[in-house]
Structures are given as structure tokens and as C-alpha cells.
Amino acid sequence: MAPDLLPGTLDLLILKTLVRGRMHGYGIAQHLQAISENVLQVGESSLYPALQRLLLNGWVKAAWGESDNRRRARYYTLTAAGRRQLASEHAEFQQIVAAIQRVLNTT
């Protein structure tokens, strides 16, 4: 199975994914899996609560639309507030990763 993500990282990844445009939940999961070359397998039980959290904070919007195979699907779009959140979280995340790297590289 997928390795544990750092807390809050999933939200960041979803926001980043949505920069490409509107997507439904399944699409987001597929995208994360594909880009990470099957390292990140996002379970539904963490994906949907995370999406709801983003909705609650006003970082994404949801609307029903039609999927490629002509089924009703719920599409998520990034809001302006979401873009700002992504920028600040991204910067923060890079700092942390860099810090962790430094710790790990120091012997």
C-alpha cells in the first residue's frame, strides 16, 4: 500500500492537481496515482473527507457535470482562495522537505 503521507500533504496534492482544471474525485485519485508512478494510492476514505475539508474552507468549488462516459459526476474547481492557499502551502512544504533533507543528509 501507499506510504503514509505527512499530515496535510493530501490537501496540498489535491489543490496542485486541480490547477490543471476541473476534475472529479476519481480523476484526482487516478491522476495522483499516475503522476506518482503508483507510489501514492489515495484511498477513498481519505480522498473524500479531504475534498470536503477543502470545500468547507472555500478553497475549491463543486458542481455536478457529465463525465466522459456520459455519467453524472461531481467536478471540483480551484477557487481564488484555493490558489493562494496552494502557493503558501507549497512554499511551506518545500521548506519542510528541505529541512528534512538537511537533517537526513547530516551524519
Binding site: G25, Y26, S45, S46, Y48, L55, L56, W64
Partner: protein, 914 residues
């Protein structure tokens, strides 16, 4: 923060849809997974099962989603509430004091608001009240009261209303002192209030009968309709006299010895068309001749009916007014009473009709009490604000005491918002408890207040039951109090720097400047309140000690009604004299006299005098309707009347038995009359000539009566002419009731009542009478002023007490903080006087600042009270000075006590405490 909160609310309200969305979304996810598996070659049935397995526990996912939205939030809230309750229970006395203070404040506000609500805001309990308009006239509108019309006018409006409007209704009560009697024998009466209504009244208002039926137009005809003369009981009378027994329908109720068939009972929430007035029975308007017999005024110039028109749906007020004015000439022509003397005909319906929205019902009571009740509402609101300032200070002190706990929590990672929320929740719990207790208090207090407004003669009854407006008001007040007293402590708590507190370096400076400003506000508001109180109390005092011009002690007023006595109206004057003469001979009676108008009785006779050479009379708008520049009050009295009331004769003579019907007509005038109409000349020998129909004879002034109040103390002394009753200018039927006054030679006049009753019954078994002491009437005339003085006095005391506590708290806190400094100073040889000055200086400055602010605000608000004051200006300097001194005194005392304690501190102890 805010939008998150709103989204949360949205989620809570649309939970069903949100859950359905999620289910569909998860199903979509699963279907996509399934098709993915199928694409990789798994059989359809297997792929469905596999996709379910891959999806994991859908219920758990749903639960997790729900948790994102609400669960945590509610859970936290609940924990905060539980925590707050635990915290409050740990210091029960502190909490009880806070809750009680809030309960008093919120309860007082709710009680007064419930009165405002029923008096001003609550609409009549009828269908579509906004379509009801009252037929009025411009001058009545400017006086702010509802005019009365004759039955003839009403009949003419009624005939046209079905076409012009959606119908009309009318109702009327007999003159205020004329209550109907349901006692079946003579003697002391069992009075009830009758409401005369038109046949359409209940139907048009949409008020159904609780049991039985209401009137129909067929009942409202002379002599009674198909069921004969009928009546409807009010719910109150039905309960009280018949115990709510439904079998009263069809049985007779004897009113004024006329049996009327009871056909229905009105619902309990219907108090009649006038807010604050109640009725016991309703009668058709056309039953009036039946009840009043030969004294009926239904066909004459008897103004007693209020008329309401129901607008057609969508009909504008202005259009309706135009329609009504269009037919006014015809109405006036047809309604002209045949008995009206020709010279009065141009005074009949002289003004154009106007229409006034009546949705809240017509109400004399509202006109009378609206302003005082609103003033009291402001006063109690101020008390609540002062109480809030106190509570804020107490909570601030507690926040300080809890700094250690708070700093530990912050150090452990609690966010500032979390702590602030927790403090606010505590405040809400406090305020909620206070509001609950206060609501209970208000139910009781509101009723007690309204009971104070009623007098023996007029019952005041208001529907004070809880409705959404009262609950909303209480909720709003509660939230407002939390915002006032809870914000500062919550804000303070978030600014605790853990490291400071753990180092015991209290952040006291900020706290004390905040609580200092609270205390200044408190003192300032107290000044405003106490000034207001002072003005009201002095108004009451002025009115209560006002020279009335008569001696109210030892006088019993006996209202005698001869309606049922078997004598001709023409012989009533003789009967009145006979009754007075008989009563005057009773043992224990010093004087007895009779009059047509009762002093302080709320009504009277107005005469217009001819002034040769003077300008024609000009209307003088004021509290007395129909008063003009040539008006004078008139009273028709028997010999001995002035002596009974103790009104002196300043010059000339009193009237006596020789001033009979055939003697030369005479009159007494009061000093105000001489001042106004005779420009101070000696009135003796001058002539009084009334502008009146049918032989108003010129009268020689034979005496000067000292000034006495006629209508009410507040109305004061107006010109008054006293005429011998035996010499009254005969016109129209003689009134059926007259007012006898009896002065006892010693002791309470009430003791005379049984012997007077027996004597009256001996003269005629059919006489009806009621007793009332003059003192009671004088007291009753001051009910409103006494109530305002009492209430505002109570609020003023409360404000002083709260301000005192606030100052006490601030000074003790300052003294405690400076304990070490004080210890050092004392160790270095400072005198106690110096220390006292040191501690007091700051507090005295706060007091001075507060008083300055308070005096300035009071000066700008008291002018709104002008209409409620009497004999005192809103800026009365002595009140302002006295109040300032009082606050200095109370404030100094409150500051002195803790300051003195500070000086008693042993320097060694103080130093060691650090």
C-alpha cells in the same frame, strides 16, 4: 472565519442533499473503478465485488466526511459548554451573583418590553388587521385621540360602507363613569363594563364565538332581533360568574333589570377593540334605548361611537378618504340630530373626515402610556448596560486570576481563537442562565406593573403572554449583553503571554486601563440614570404636594344613580337636594354637598362665556378637547358643597338655600376666572353670560371661590364658574347620576358609608350608588407619576449600587497591585494620609471624569422627558448638582474603604508578599 461558519450552517440545514450528493459521488467512483477492472479483463460480477472491496468502507468514508463538517465543531462546542458549567459551579457564589444581576437586568427589560409589545406593537387579534382604518378628523388626529360619533352618523356611514369599502363596524362605551349594573336589587351596584357593538362587528373583525354565536346585523335592531334582546359574554366574565359552564347559552342575564339572552362567549384572547380596556359583556348598539330607557341618547347629539372601516383588498388609504369625503355632505345632512338647536347645526360634523390605520387597535391607554413606558424601557436598558460593565469588570478580574491556567493552555498549543471562544461560551452560559431566570421574573413583574396601572374606576388589562417578539427580544438582549460584557475578557484572555505569567509578571497595566474606562462609563451612565430618577421623583413630589384647592382628607364621594328611581327627570334636581339635606343631618357628618361634575373625576362641563368687546373665541389646543380662549369649567353645586370640599370663599358669599329656582341667578367664580376674564378687577357684582342656547341667563357674581383643581392635578387650575344646582339653565334631560360629597366630622369617612347607604335606601329603594374616598381619587390620579417615580427610583438605586461596586473593585485592585510600593513608602515613613491620597487620587479622577461625561450626556437627553415632567425643567440645576454630589459621595465611600485597608497593611507583610 465567518464564511466558514456560514458554509457550516448551510451544511447543517441542507444535510439531506449533501448526504445524497456524497452517496452518488461514491457510487460514481465505484463504477469507474469497476469499468477500469473490466477493462483489465475481470468478469463483470467479480469486478463489481472487487470494486466494492477496493473502495473500502463507504459508511466510514461518509462518517469521516460528516465529521469534517459538523461533528468536531459540535463536539467542541459541547465540551466548551460543559467546561464552562463546571467552571461556574466551582465558584457558586460568584456565579450566582452574576446570574442574579443579569436576571434582574434582562428580566426588567423583558417585562417592560412585554408591556410595550402589547401596548404598541401587537396587532388586534383579528383577521387582516392592516385593512382596518378608523374614521377620524384632523383635529382629533392632532390631539392624538379617537373621535366619537353619533349613532346617526354611524348609520349613514354604515349604509354607504358596503359599496365604498368592504363594510364598516362601530363600537362604543357609555361615558367612563357609567358602568352597567347586574345586581337585581337596589343599593350598592355590581358594575360591569359593557361594550356596545354594531351587528357586523364580530363578523367583519373575524372574531369567532368561543361557544354559541356572535351578533349578526339582524340582532342590531331596536327591540332586539329574532332571539329578542341578546348579549355576548367576555371569556373573563363567563369564567368568573359562570365557571365556564356552556349551559349559560340561552339563559338570561339581567342588565339594568332588563333580561338579555346570552347567545355566545368571546374567545379569551379578544379583549375588545381598544388595547388595554376590557369589557364584560357586548351588546348590540340598538340595545342602548332598552338599557338606558328614558335617558337614551341614541337618536340625539350623543357622541359615543367609534367607527372603523374595512378597506377593500388593495384599496389605498388616500382613495378611501376621498370616497368618504365625497359623501360627507349627504351623511351630514341625513345624520343631523333633530333635537339639535338651530344655532348648533353648523357645529355638527364641521370637519372633513379622515382615515387613520387602526391595525394596533384604538387605544386611549396607548396614547397615555406610550411615552412613559418607552422612557422606562430606556432606563432599564441603561441599568442593564451598567450591570454589564460590572460583570465585565468581574470577569476581567477572574481572567487575571486564571492567567496561570490560560497560559498553561496556550503553552500546550491552544490557539487564541480557541481560548477566546471558550471565554465567550462561558459568557453565553452565564447570560443564558440569567435570561432564563429573567424571563420568569418578567412574567411576574409585567403583571405586577400592569396591576399598578389599574385604578378602582378603570381596569387596565394587557395581554402580556409570551409571543415570538418577546422571546426574540430576550434573545437579542442576551446576545447584546454577552457582546458587552463578554468581549473584553475574551479578548484579554487571548493576549496572555505564557512566559510572562509563568514568570509571575502580571500584564496588569492593560487590564486596569480597560477596567478604568469601564468604570468611567458606569459612573457616567449612573449620572444619567440618577438625574432622570431625580427629575421623575421631583415631578411626583410636585404633583403630590400640589395645592389642589380642597382638603381631600375625611371626604367620601358617593356617586348616586337615579336612573331606576320612579321620578320624572324634571324632579331630579329636587331629589338631589333632598338627598343632600337628608345625609347632612346624619350623625358624624360635618358637611354634605352635591355636584354634577366630580372634581378629579376625569370629565366635566365646559362653558363658553360671552366677552363683550373681545375678539371671537379661538380654539386652544391642549389636553382638554373643545377648550377655547373663552372657555371656563362649570360646576353645578348645592349649598354646602364648597364647605364639604374645603374650598374657601375669598370674598362675597357662598351660595345658600335662598338661591332657588325663582331667585335672581347668581354664580361664584374662582380667582383664575377673575385673572383671565376680568383682568384682575373685583368680580363681585360683575355678570357671567354663557354663550348657550335656550335661555342661558346672565348671572351676577356674588362670591369668589379660591382656586381649585378641576380635571386633574397635572391639568392644574383653570377658570371655573360655580352655579347653584337649583338655578341651572334647563336644557336637555337632566343627568341621571350626580356626585355627593360627605365630610366626616372626625375619623375616616368610610365609616359613614353604611349609614349613608341606609338613608339613601330609605329615600328610594331603587337608587344605585357607589362609594369612594376623595383621597383614593387623588392617589389614583397620580398612579402614572408614582409608578414612574418608583420604577426609576429603583433603577437609580440599582445604578448607584452597581457603580459603587465597580469603583470599589477598581480601587481594591489598584491597591493590591501597589501593595509593595505602599509597603516601601510606609517603611520609609510615609503617613497614612499620604498613602490614602495616593490610592484615592486615581479613583477620584475616574469619578470626576465619569460625572463630567454623565452630566454632559444627561443634559442632552433629559429634554426628551419634558412631556413627563411637571413643575420642573429638564435641566433643573439643583437636580444636576445634587446628583453630582451624591455620586461623589457614593464614589468616595466606595473608594475609601479599600484605600483605608491598603494603609493598614503591615509594611513587612506587603514587602514579603512579592
Amino acid at each position: 472565519m465567518v464564511s466558514r461558519f456560514l458554509r457550516r450552517l448551510l451544511y447543517v440545514t441542507r444535510q439531506g442533499r449533501m448526504a445524497a450528493d456524497l452517496t452518488e459521488e461514491l457510487e460514481f467512483h465505484r463504477a469507474m473503478k469497476q469499468s477500469e477492472l473490466e477493462g483489465s479483463g475481470t468478469a463483470s460480477a467479480d469486478s463489481e465485488a472487487a470494486s466494492r472491496k477496493a473502495l473500502g468502507n463507504a459508511t466510514l468514508a461518509r462518517e469521516d466526511v460528516r465529521a469534517v463538517w459538523i461533528w468536531r465543531w459540535f463536539d467542541d462546542l459541547w465540551r466548551d459548554v460543559a467546561y464552562a458549567i463546571r467552571g461556574l459551579r466551582r465558584s457558586p457564589v460568584f456565579s450566582a451573583v452574576l446570574i442574579f444581576t443579569l436576571a434582574l437586568g434582562i428580566g426588567a427589560n423583558t417585562a417592560i418590553f412585554s408591556i410595550v409589545n402589547s401596548l404598541v406593537l401587537r396587532a388586534l387579534p383579528v383577521e387582516e388587521p392592516h385593512r382596518l382604518v378608523i374614521v377620524s378628523s384632523p383635529s382629533a388626529e392632532s390631539r392624538g385621540n379617537t373621535p366619537a360619533w353619533t349613532n346617526g352618523t354611524w348609520e349613514e356611514i354604515r349604509r354607504r360602507a358596503a359599496i365604498l369599502f368592504d363594510g364598516a363596524i362601530a363600537w362604543g362605551v357609555l361615558s367612563p363613569n357609567e358602568r352597567l349594573n347586574i345586581s337585581q336589587t337596589g343599593g350598592e351596584i355590581q358594575p360591569i363594563d359593557a361594550l356596545f357593538v354594531s351587528g357586523e362587528f364580530f363578523g367583519k373583525l373575524g372574531v369567532p364565538a368561543l361557544i354559541g354565536r356572535t351578533f349578526t346585523p339582524a340582532d342590531d335592531v331596536r327591540g332586539g332581533g329574532p332571539d329578542g334582546p341578546v348579549t355576548i359574554l367576555s371569556y373573563a366574565l363567563w369564567q368568573q360568574r359562570y365557571g365556564g359552564d356552556a349551559s349559560v347559552l340561552g339563559t338570561p342575564l339581567v342588565v339594568e333589570r332588563i333580561p338579555l339572552t346570552i347567545i355566545g362567549v368571546t374567545p379569551p384572547e379578544f379583549f375588545g377593540p381598544e388595547v388595554g380596556r376590557t369589557f364584560d359583556i357586548a351588546l348590540p348598539i340598538n340595545a342602548e334605548p332598552l338599557i338606558r330607557g328614558k335617558d337614551s341618547g341614541i337618536d340625539g347629539a350623543y357622541y359615543w361611537l367609534s367607527v372603523m372601516v374595512r378597506l377593500k383588498s388593495g384599496q389605498a388609504l388616500a382613495d378611501a378618504t376621498t370616497l368618504l369625503r365625497g359623501v360627507q355632505p349627504q351623511i351630514r345632512e341625513a345624520a343631523m340630530p333633530a333635537t339639535l338647536p338651530p344655532q348648533f347645526r353648523d357645529r355638527f360634523l364641521p370637519e372633513p373626515f379622515s382615515l387613520v390605520p387602526a391595525a394596533e387597535g384604538a387605544s386611549q391607554l396607548r396614547q397615555r402610556y406610550q411615552r412613559p413606558v418607552l422612557a422606562i424601557l430606556v432606563v432599564v436598558a441603561l441599568v442593564l448596560i451598567i450591570a454589564c460593565a460590572n460583570i465585565a469588570n468581574l470577569l476581567l478580574a477572574r481572567t487575571n486570576a486564571r492567567q496561570h491556567e490560560l497560559s498553561v493552555r496556550i503553552a500546550l498549543g491552544a490557539s487564541a481563537a480557541r481560548i477566546a471562544r471558550q471565554m465567550l461560551v462561558e459568557s453565553f452560559v452565564l447570560a443564558g442562565a440569567g435570561a432564563a431566570v429573567g424571563l420568569g421574573l418578567s412574567l411576574w413583574a409585567g403583571r405586577a406593573l400592569v396591576a399598578q396601572l389599574s385604578t378602582a374606576a378603570t381596569r387596565v388589562s394587557l395581554d402580556l403572554s409570551l409571543d415570538w417578539r418577546i422571546l426574540a427580544f430576550t434573545a437579542a438582549v442576551t446576545v447584546a449583553t454577552v457582546l458587552i460584557f463578554g468581549t473584553a475578557p475574551a479578548f484579554r484572555a487571548t493576549r496572555v503571554a505564557p512566559i510572562d505569567v509563568l514568570n509571575r509578571r502580571g500584564a496588569g497595566g492593560a487590564r486596569s486601563s480597560l477596567s478604568n474606562s469601564l468604570v468611567v462609563v458606569q459612573v457616567a451612565l449612573s449620572v444619567v440614570l440618577v438625574v432622570t430618577t431625580g427629575l421623575f421623583v421631583r415631578t411626583f413630589e410636585r404633583l403630590a404636594t400640589l395645592p389642589l384647592g380642597f382638603d381631600a382628607g375625611r371626604v367620601l364621594q358617593v356617586n348616586v344613580d337615579v336612573r331606576r328611581a320612579a321620578i320624572e327627570p324634571a324632579n331630579r334636581v329636587a331629589l338631589y337636594h333632598q338627598l343632600v339635606a337628608t345625609v347632612a343631618t346624619l350623625p358624624g357628618v360635618a358637611h354634605a354637598g352635591g355636584s354634577m361634575a366630580t372634581p378629579l373625576g376625569g370629565g366635566g362641563i365646559i362653558g363658553e362665556i360671552q366677552l363683550p368687546g373681545a375678539a371671537p373665541s379661538q380654539p386652544e389646543p391642549g389636553p382638554v378637547a373643545f377648550w377655547n380662549s373663552h372657555s371656563t369649567f362649570v360646576n353645578e353645586i348645592t349649598p354646602g358643597w364648597l364647605a364639604t370640599y374645603g374650598t374657601g370663599v375669598r370674598g362675597g358669599r357662598d351660595i345658600n338655600e335662598r338661591d332657588g329656582e325663582t331667585a335672581q341667578p347668581v354664580a361664584l367664580v374662582n380667582e383664575a376666572y377673575a385673572r383671565k376674564f376680568l383682568s384682575g378687577r373685583n368680580p363681585l357684582g360683575e355678570t357671567v353670560q354663557f354663550v348657550q342656547a335656550m335661555g342661558a341667563r346672565p348671572r351676577t357674581i356674588v362670591g369668589i371661590a379660591s382656586d381649585a383643581v378641576y380635571l386633574s392635578g397635572r391639568d392644574g387650575v383653570r377658570p371655573t364658574v360655580y352655579i347653584p344646582l337649583a338655578q341651572r339653565d334647563s336644557q336637555g334631560p337632566m343627568q341621571t347620576n350626580f356626585s355627593m360629597a360627605v365630610r366626616s366630622s372626625a375619623g375616616s369617612p368610610v365609616a359613614l358609608a353604611p349609614s349613608i347607604a341606609a338613608t339613601l335606601m330609605q329615600v328610594d329603594r331603587n337608587l344605585l350608588f357607589s362609594f369612594r374616598t376623595l383621597q383614593d381619587r387623588v392617589d389614583a390620579s397620580l398612579v402614572q407619576e408614582r409608578l414612574i417615580a418608583m420604577l426609576s427610583g429603583f433603577c437609580g438605586l440599582l445604578a448607584l449600587l452597581l457603580a459603587g461596586i465597580g469603583l470599589f473593585g477598581v480601587t481594591s485592585y489598584a491597591a493590591t497591585r501597589r501593595q509593595a510600593e505602599i509597603g516601601i513608602r510606609m517603611a520609609l515613613g510615609a503617613q497614612r494620609r499620604d498613602i490614602l491620597g495616593l490610592v484615592l487620587r486615581q479613583t477620584l479622577m475616574l469619578i470626576a471624569l465619569g460625572i463630567g461625561l454623565g452630566v454632559a450626556s444627561a443634559a442632552s437627553v433629559t429634554r426628551y422627558l419634558d412631556a413627563l415632567l411637571f413643575g420642573i425643567t429638564p435641566l433643573d440645576p439643583s437636580t444636576f448638582v445634587a446628583v453630582s454630589l451624591l455620586l461623589v459621595a457614593v464614589g468616595s465611600l466606595a473608594a475609601y474603604l479599600p484605600a483605608r485597608r491598603a494603609t493598614r497593611v503591615d509594611p513587612m507583610v506587603a514587602l514579603r508578599a512579592e
